[in-house]
Symmetry: C2
Subunit: 188 residues, 2 copies
């Protein structure tokens, strides 16, 4: 069937994001998403488990990219330098995705259940980063601390990126936040 | 009525923790908690909104203690030093609470909804710490980054404290994690 439905997944995502913005997440049904996309509900459920997954399916790709970049840093790189390289890679990934990220953020922040889901995804990502640092030979508690620091930098930089009226790139903000974190922990 | 029910809140908490340990959180009803405590359901609901709140009512006290300690650090203290002082205060708070914390952790980690609630409470705590740092004149993104660093140190130290066969104090582990975080971010 799928050759008759080119880009079904993308069309469903586009339709879902439009409807979440127009009607709100709670008020949008899978039936309405499928109809807007010109597809069937059955096709929707071949691509997504539920309407929430449309917003969170990208987190697997983000986690793979982030942990892969950590693993790919030079063996000689200190943990924080491997994390800095991985944050740069993640920043590049979002280069052309600001419009989508803004729309997604508006949906997620307007719904407590979606905000909780976002926290859970970040906690999973942090655990995956700590595991990738273990694989690099970093021991505890340093691995978990550097993983949490990386998540903090990513989260805070991401918010600043979306709020920036000058639309500077995410990479600018992850570097800014990492420099600020290092300065703050070095001071005193 | 309350003069006939001395320590009702403590008796309810004790009964709840016993039952959560014996039967599991899901299988425990408010009626069973009240019965075990020798009190009525009505008395339970005067003290707790639901059976989940028994596990999380302490988070308000923790947040007040943590933010108060940050606010009370000398004006001249660097943000990270104010955070270090606050973490010491929090460590002291848990000095005699390891048995309770171990029982609570066993309940929370065994239930996905409770683990999510714990993440939400930590996110709220982080926001409160960032606000306390703003009040100290710390700007963004440093305030949010130091708040997240403090939460990371607290969370990781807390887990290490509960896992420690030598039963060293929480203060030992918060200092250890803070030193490790500072060393990791200074390196490279």
């Amino acid at each position: 069937m799928s050759r008759w439905q080119p880009n079904a997944r993308e069309r469903l995502e586009q339709a879902a994001m439009e409807l979440y913005g127009e009607r709100g997440f709670e008020q949008t049904t899978v039936a309405a998403i499928a109809e807007r996309a010109g597809l069937t509900e059955r096709t929707f459920f071949r691509h997504y488990a539920d309407k929430r997954e449309v917003l969170f399916s990208g987190s697997v790709a983000l986690q793979d990219l982030f942990t892969g970049a950590l693993a790919g840093a030079p063996d000689t790189a200190a943990p924080i330098d491997a994390m800095a390289a991985a944050l740069d890679t993640v920043g590049e990934f979002f280069r052309d995705r600001r419009p989508y990220a803004l729309r997604r953020q508006a949906v997620v922040t307007s719904n407590p259940n979606l905000r909780e889901r976002e926290l859970i995804k970040l906690a999973s990502l942090s655990a995956a980063l700590a595991a990738a640092l273990h694989d690099r030979g970093v021991r505890e508690p340093a691995a978990s601390l550097v993983a949490e620091a990386g998540i903090a930098v990513f989260k805070i930089a991401f918010e600043r990126w979306l709020d920036d009226p000058d639309e500077r790139e995410l990479t600018y903000f992850v570097r800014e936040s990492l420099v600020e974190l290092r300065a703050a922990t070095a001071a005193g």
